[in-house]
């Protein structure tokens, strides 16, 4: 039995303590131990973006973060996006544009889009496509996703930081 490491972190604004093994990824701890299953495991090697979340304000692949690394760090996941007032504009626009089929890639795309709009509130189509190069979708052919993100941009102004 490997020894467990104590980690203190903030997940979607909530202080969280957990015990993890050194060999676990952040994605595994979130999904298997904390039951936060919004982040998906697509490839487990950094290529697909399905596991995307924000770590200290930066978009990362959580399959390529070791769980003990998050001690003292801040994490934001898809579970933290909707509020009591309803869905986040990006979530709403993904629904309106039918920008998902199986939905495995969706949390990653939405987190990635949020991270982009925080830096670039008025992206061109080219900007959106370039930014999402690390997010793969097996179903939609991307067009609807790109349109949803472009359409959400004005509504996100000020909300995506």
């Amino acid at each position: 039995m490997s020894k467990k490491l104590h980690v203190q972190t903030t997940i979607n604004g909530k202080e969280t303590e957990l015990l993890c093994e050194a060999r676990q990824s952040l994605l595994e701890v979130l999904r298997d131990d904390l039951r936060l299953t919004g982040a998906k495991e697509g490839c487990n090697n950094g290529n697909c973006g399905a596991c995307n979340l924000m770590l200290d304000g930066r978009l990362v692949n959580s399959c390529l973060v070791m769980a003990p690394e998050i001690d003292g760090r801040k994490i934001e996941t898809i579970e933290g996006m909707a509020s009591a007032q309803g869905l986040h504009p990006l979530q709403q626009k993904f629904l309106e544009h039918a920008a998902l089929q199986c939905g495995i890639c969706t949390p990653g795309f939405i987190l990635a889009a949020k991270a982009m709009l925080a830096k670039n509130p008025t992206p061109s189509e080219g900007d959106v496509r370039h930014w999402h190069a690390g997010n793969l979708c097996r179903c939609t052919g991307y067009d609807k996703i790109i349109r949803a993100v472009l359409d959400a941009a004005p509504a996100c102004a000020g909300k995506c930081s």
């Binding site: 690394e69 001690d71 370039h130």
Partner: protein, 290 residues
């Protein structure tokens, strides 16, 4: 992933002691974008990851009149978003901005790119062109090594037991200088270089003649290469068509590529000439505008 330990030393001395004690059973964890995949897929067998990101100097970037010092574990995004780096080191920004996608750039470091020592690592030819110096910390203290001497064969580098890369230093660009990095990949983003070329040039006061040049090549030999002949051939010329053709063919002659799934040797040789010309054109343009 197999059972391993995790250590997060807060000082360089602690990290060195750990690495020295464990030898090749320990491996530095910077952004983890190479290491985690390798350990998970069983391509690298280790007992402990030594996370160096809690050592403040390892993720610190400082720019002053002497130049740039980049903590080895500083992520690419901190490099290409830095206003001074953007302005004065565009050749480095080129490379940092094309390693992986945004998610990779949030974590991937230039130190990790160098220490992974892939012949195709995108940062390495760019750093060679810029004349970067590796600052290595180890049990016997600190030593420095020119970046072109760091990689020794695919996946292997000059680090000895207990040593780690602490920082990368680049001298401030001389007046009239410009640099660029380009790679060729079959898609627009997220792929491994078939060929990568870094170039830096310094022009005279009239912005006409080349007074110094460096060219680095990636993915065409067991290690990234400094191609001195090709760069030296530009010196004293106005980088006119004949001089550029000459430099491109000398670079081509220095390239010793293999054939693999990304491209055969002849194709890579062809690309070397094409990319040297394109990269040189950007570097010259930047030098003229500097």
């Amino acid at each position: 992933m197999k059972d391993i330990d995790y250590a997060a030393p807060k000082t360089l001395a602690e990290a060195v002691a750990l690495l020295d004690g464990k030898g090749d059973r320990a491996r530095v964890l910077a952004g983890g974008t190479d290491l985690i995949v390798q350990v998970r897929e069983g391509r690298r067998d280790i007992d402990v990851m030594v996370d160096v990101k809690r050592i403040p100097d390892l993720t610190r970037l400082t720019v002053d009149a002497n130049g740039l010092r980049i903590g080895a574990a500083t992520p690419c995004c901190d490099i290409y978003e830095h206003p001074e780096v953007k302005k004065s080191y565009p050749g480095l920004v080129d490379a940092a901005f094309l390693i992986g996608g945004i998610q990779i750039q949030s974590r991937a470091s230039l130190g990790g790119n160098l220490c992974n020592s892939s012949p195709a690592g995108d940062a390495i030819p760019a750093l060679i062109a810029l004349g970067a110096v590796c600052v290595i910390a180890g049990p016997k203290g600190e030593r420095e090594l020119p970046v072109e001497s760091f990689c020794v064969s695919p996946g292997r580098n000059a680090l000895a037991r207990g040593e780690l890369l602490a920082a990368i230093k680049i001298s401030a660009p001389r007046t009239g200088s410009g640099a660029a990095y380009l790679r060729f990949i079959p898609r627009n983003e997220m792929d491994i270089a078939v060929v990568g070329v870094g170039v830096s040039v310094v022009l005279d006061a009239a912005k006409s003649k080349v007074v110094a040049a460096r060219i680095g090549l990636g993915a065409v030999a067991p290690t990234p290469l400094l191609v001195k002949d090709a760069a030296d051939a530009l010196v004293g010329t106005t980088a006119d068509d004949a001089a550029v053709e000459n430099a491109a063919s000398l670079a081509q002659a220095a390239a010793k590529p293999i054939s693999d799934m990304r491209g055969d040797a002849d194709y890579r040789k062809h690309l070397v000439a094409v990319l040297v010309k394109r990269t040189l054109a950007i570097a010259l343009e930047r030098a003229r505008k500097s």
